[in-house]
Symmetry: C2
Subunit: 164 residues, 2 copies
């Protein structure tokens, strides 16, 4: 295997993440509007839920993740060919890393999600499993459940080291 | 209009809420399992996303709700015939009220959601718009977006007062 390379951590922004999915955060989109007689503001359709294939449907789950040890080595990625997958932290103090790539042979990108930012991976986007920081962290998941082969894993041709 | 009646507030439990929808919270369901090489526990398929009709799909939105004044009067309910609708607080300190009824003429039930509990109204369930307590509160919403008439409102034959 080739030498381990350092992977820089970028801020998570809607623009930078757009090739891989959506950032879920309050944002002044054209769909933002008042609801409930003006007592609330809705940030509308921040992410699209996209599930395909028979014998499956979209559902809401939760995950409780242990913090990872650092430096962290990225040596594999996974993707879900039958559906998008969203992770949203259930406490604004939660920080986590988001690692994505166009394909397992490409240089991945690492983003730091903070201030309550969630992500929705487009269907089929290569990404690393959840990398929690700091503490035990609860997330909401919105993805496809049901029958069908919806998880592919790939070992990377080289490892990437993340320091934070 | 008939006299205003007091509506008691009940604790929100999966069992009590089952006729109206699902409570979204970590729970030892049969689908709970370790993932990501044992670094996380997934509470699987806590709520089903159910959208119907052409020209619409499920999406993730957010809402920022102002706290309501109390005593609060319940005088209307709404329902979404084309899809389920989930609200999940984005901070475990958020408390809110959930008011539901089998139909607009029936006695409603009021539940206090706390400790991070979310709810998913079944498609077509009569419910009151979000009733935030204490402070400005952010929630994730998972519901149907797109064309089609997906909101019915009904004035109630009598008002109900909630004190908290």
């Amino acid at each position: 295997m080739d030498e381990v390379r350092l992977l820089a951590v970028e801020p998570l922004t809607r623009e930078a993440f757009a090739p891989y999915g959506e950032v879920i955060e309050p944002a002044a989109t054209k769909g933002t509007h008042g609801i409930n007689a003006g007592t609330a503001e809705r940030f509308h359709a921040l992410a699209r839920i996209d599930v395909v294939g028979p014998d499956g449907h979209a559902a809401i789950s939760q995950v409780r993740a242990q913090p990872r040890a650092f430096p962290f080595l990225v040596s594999m990625l996974e993707r879900h060919p039958l559906g998008s997958q969203a992770f949203v932290p259930l406490d604004p103090a939660i920080r986590y890393l988001v690692v994505v790539a166009h394909d397992p042979g490409a240089t991945p990108r690492a983003f730091l999600a903070e201030h309550g930012q969630g992500v929705n991976y487009h269907r089929g986007t290569w990404h690393h499993p959840l990398i929690a920081l700091d503490r035990v962290s609860d997330f909401l998941i919105v993805d496809r459940v049901g029958a069908g082969e919806n998880c592919e894993e790939a070992a990377l041709p080289r490892q990437w080291r993340i320091e934070i």
